[in-house]
Symmetry: C2
Subunit: 105 residues, 2 copies
C-alpha cells in the first residue's frame, strides 16, 4: 500500500474466525475488491494466522468515506453474515492517523 | 485484550520479515512482555502469516506513553536490529482511536 500523508483514518478490524466456512474466503475477497472502489479509499493490509486470529487495517481519506462504505448494501449484508456465522468475536476501532514513517531495505 | 474507552492511541506496525532468524522470535516475545510493563500500556494484538506479512497493533493511553516506550533502551536496540536484519520493510502509523465497538458470540 502507498504511504499517504497524514492526517487520514484507519479502521482497525481484529477478529477471530469460527470454524464455519460457507463461502467466507470468497466473500472476504469480494469485500476487499469492493472497498477498493469506494470514494476515499486509500488502501488495506490484512493478515490472518493459522489459529484464525486476523487483523485487517483499511485506510480512508476521512470519516465520510468510512460512513459511505458502511452504508454499502453488499458490505452491510456481509457484516450481518459475519455476526451470524463467520466470527467468534471481533473489534472495530476507528482511528485518526496523525503521523507515520516507513522503512524499506 | 480489554476494550478501553476512547480516546486512546494505537501504534499500527505492519511489516514484512526477511528470512533471517538470529533470535527474532525470542526478541519479539521479550519486547511484547516489556511493552506490557510500560506506564500507559493498554494492550496489543499481533498476527503474522506464513508469508511473513505481519501486523501488530499496540494500544496506549496517550502520546506520552508511546514516547516513553520509544525511549526504552532495549526497545531502541531491538528497533536497530530490526532495520539491520529482521525486516524487509515496515510502516509505523500512530493514530488516535476515536470510537470502537465489539462483538462476541
Amino acid at each position: 500500500m502507498q504511504r499517504p500523508e497524514p492526517p487520514y483514518y484507519a479502521v482497525i478490524f481484529t477478529s477471530r474466525r469460527t470454524d464455519v466456512d460457507h463461502g467466507y474466503a470468497e466473500r472476504a475477497s469480494q469485500m476487499s475488491a469492493l472497498a477498493a472502489e469506494q470514494e476515499g479509499y486509500l488502501g488495506e493490509t490484512s493478515v490472518r494466522d493459522a489459529d484464525g486470529l486476523g487483523i485487517t487495517v483499511s485506510y480512508w481519506r476521512d470519516e465520510a468515506a468510512i460512513a459511505g462504505w458502511r452504508k454499502n448494501l453488499e458490505h452491510t449484508e456481509s457484516r450481518r453474515r459475519g455476526r451470524a456465522e463467520w466470527y467468534e468475536e471481533f473489534d472495530v476501532r476507528v482511528a485518526r492517523v496523525e503521523r507515520s514513517y516507513g522503512f524499506e531495505r
